[in-house]
Symmetry: C2
Subunit: 220 residues, 2 copies
């Protein structure tokens, strides 16, 4: 029987706590209260304690949390206590940016292959990325026990790439293509929606402009 | 007095509805019920109706929603009914990827300048991006009425760039640097946290592996 499901909203806060705890660790801070974490993160102290209680009794009343211990425990919960073999398909600008992003390797995500429908595109050569053709993808995944597949292709071929990933045994897909992918239930799918972030920005930009105008009209 | 605040969780669903409605429009679908939208988006019909009711009475009982009308109304609410002048600072891989992403221009976000602390880096020349030095940033923003500033620099200089943006009059900042920025209350700040998305993926990958093992052990 599956354990009690922790809600997705709680789960999405864990990497945020993890990031702040990492920064505290870098600064040599040993101990932190839920109130101090609240001041840093913007979540209430009560919310933070509740969230963490889903996973164990990490804190001590009157003491707070041991930063290193909590950081390591959250790391385990987030699956960051091991390394993963990762491939990228889609060697364009975004795939290139992900490939060279150093933070992922530091966190244990090793991008060991980059694939593209057009591997001989000379732009790839200039970028010093060794790009392989799509027809080598399935065997490469199997031979290298690749568990995570990243998709940075156009939306037209994203589902085809996801299908290869699934067939080859990839366990999780990180999708940047602007399309909903269909994958089996036991394959983890996480999509990054940059447009949604930008449109949230424009929502607030417009709203703040509106509020400013209202405030100015009131003065007059 | 500020209007009733709509919660951020509702706001973040609006671009999702907008995206699906755009796809329906492309397919020539004229009309959709909240239940059909629910099947597409995964949110309950009741949630969708509630969300949209915050902004007006768009639907009609028994009819549902007119796709084009709802799409346009959401577009207005999201501030997508106009164009914006945008700059990018940080001409590395990620800045490059954002610069060439066609979806943003189509949505009205015109990237009219790219800046970098090292504009003569030869990698920029190969990418066909005209990169300007940081000391031209403030004047450029003022002269071109730039409202949105994107930050794709390393975290070390991100706050300095944000300060220039604010001083020059930028109204919203889209931040990709892995650091919390400090900006005045009237400047919209939206941060993209790729690591948080990836660590959510690894959380579920690990959890699904655990569930699979449990299921297999039960069979034995």
């Amino acid at each position: 029987m599956a354990k009690n499901e922790v809600s997705i909203t709680v789960i999405r806060r864990l990497p945020i706590y993890y990031r702040y705890l990492g920064e505290l660790l870098d600064k040599g801070v040993n101990r932190i209260s839920s109130q101090e974490l609240s001041n840093l993160t913007g979540y209430t102290a009560s919310q933070i304690r509740q969230d963490l209680n889903n996973f164990g009794g990490f804190g001590q009343q009157g003491y707070g949390y041991n930063v290193e211990e909590l950081y390591n425990e959250l790391g385990k919960i987030l699956g960051l206590d091991r390394e993963y073999n990762v491939v990228i398909t889609g060697a364009g600008n975004l795939g290139h940016a992900i490939y060279y992003y150093r933070g992922f390797k530091r966190a244990g995500f090793n991008i060991i292959g980059v694939f593209d429908i057009n591997p001989d595109n000379t732009r790839h050569a200039k970028r010093n990325m060794d790009v392989r053709p799509l027809d080598e993808l399935e065997d490469f995944i199997k031979e290298n026990k690749v568990e995570i597949g990243i998709i940075t292709t156009s939306k037209e071929i994203a589902q085809e790439v996801a299908d290869i990933y699934v067939r080859a045994g990839v366990k999780a897909i990180w999708n940047f293509a602007t399309i909903d992918l269909i994958v089996p239930e036991d394959v983890t799918l996480e999509s990054v929606r940059l447009s949604e972030s930008l449109f949230t920005l424009s929502y607030f930009l417009k709203r703040n402009e509106g509020l400013k105008k209202e405030a100015e009209e009131k003065k007059n």
